[in-house]
């Protein structure tokens, strides 16, 4: 590793810490000022949380801009216009800590299912609470609540893995996303997220920055139909299993192709370049 590489790496460790500090401080600051005010700005709970969601989306855009400006990452979005329509059911794989930051920054109004642990996180509980996001701990009512949100024309976002991907382990989806699609009678909007070199993944501390500046590709796919799975006359639990299996197969292929392309396109020297750091 040469001198400039070391300096760059040290810079990225510092700048990552700085960015995350800004994120945490921003979340607490906005969590006690702008977001609650917006939440109280209308007696209609839905109108109010939609306003908060738009404000959260703007703050996420600022955060992505900050990380990009500090030289911490580059990214590209493919098919972003497909996220514009309302009432979408977005499902995405979840390789890194900031996947949701990207997706929320692209979608002004979206309900997110958030794992219960984040409601106890001292920084994340504020956006999560004021934006009216849905906890995954609500149990029996969760599927119905999500289907109702979609029926109202709201968009919904779920990471079916339930937590970040563990690199090297097979992709595993919980069945909630499929259950929601079947209950709501909706197609899914798959979003494939890849990051190379991988960083901010499960079990990796934020300060362990990758050897090179990481690049994210966020690709919005075409609708993934769910109707056929119930049409076969299967009981819903079985249909949910089959839909989940089909989704996992789809994402497996999509992630592998996307990563493969990134690795050949982004390396200097192109297709034949070899990377000895991996």
């Amino acid at each position: 590793m040469n001198e400039s590489g070391l300096v760059n790496r040290a810079w990225r460790v510092f700048a990552t810490g700085f960015s995350f500090t800004c994120f945490g401080l921003g979340a607490v600051l906005l969590g006690f000022t702008v977001w609650p005010l917006l939440r109280l700005s209308s007696a209609d709970r839905r109108v109010a949380s939609a306003r908060v969601q738009r404000a959260v989306s703007v703050s996420m855009r600022v955060f992505v801009w900050l990380m990009k400006s500090l030289g911490l990452l580059t990214y590209e979005v493919r098919g972003r216009e497909k996220l514009a329509a309302r009432g979408q059911f977005v499902v995405a794989n979840h390789p890194t800590l900031i996947d949701v930051v990207f997706l929320v920054s692209f979608m002004p109004e979206v309900d997110c299912i958030v794992k219960q642990a984040l409601w106890r996180n001292v920084f994340l509980r504020w956006p999560v609470y004021w934006a009216g996001y849905i906890s995954n701990a609500t149990g029996e009512g969760l599927i119905a609540a999500c289907a109702a949100a979609l029926a109202e024309g709201r968009s919904l976002m779920v990471f079916p893995e339930g937590t970040r991907t563990r690199p090297g382990e097979p992709l595993a989806f919980q069945r909630g996303a499929a259950q929601i699609a079947l209950a709501a009678g909706r197609d899914l909007r798959p979003v494939t997220i890849t990051c190379d070199p991988i960083t901010l993944h499960k079990g990796n501390a934020w300060w362990r920055v990758p050897p090179r500046r990481p690049h994210w590709v966020i690709a919005v796919g075409d609708p993934f139909p769910s109707a056929g799975f119930l049409a076969a006359g299967e009981p819903q639990p079985l249909a949910a299993r089959h839909l989940t299996q089909a989704l996992v197969r789809w994402f497996d292929v999509s992630i592998t192709q996307q990563l493969g392309k990134m690795r050949t396109e982004t390396r200097p020297g192109g297709v034949n370049a070899r990377d000895d750091s991996l």
């Binding site: 029996e140 599927i143 069945r175 909630g176 259950q179 009981p235 639990p237 079985l238 299993r241």
Partner: protein, 90 residues
């Protein structure tokens, strides 16, 4: 299910239901198989399972009665207890 079923018969029927609803290989369904860890029956599945058991037994089932069920054996015992008792007043 008739009123005089043995736990063995209940076990066999439960096996059938688990296969019908969740495509679980009957060979995997043993009395000490854990519903969540071994058979991957999640909380949403449990609701569907209880609905199906309601149909089969013709008894009202409160989710409470299944709260402590962890294994297939627990489920068999819970269903057995349910059938032994008179139908709950509607």
């Amino acid at each position: 299910m008739g009123p005089v079923q043995s736990t063995q018969e209940i076990f066999e029927q439960l096996r059938g239901v688990l296969h019908e609803l969740f495509e679980i290989d009957p060979a995997q369904v043993t009395l000490d198989a854990h519903l969540y860890n071994d058979l991957e029956i999640d909380s949403i599945d449990t609701i569907d399972l209880i609905l199906r058991l309601k149909e089969l037994t013709g008894r009202k089932i409160q989710p409470d009665q299944f709260r402590h069920v962890r294994t297939v054996g627990d489920a068999v015992n819970a269903i057995h207890a349910l059938i032994q008792n008179k139908p709950a007043a509607a």
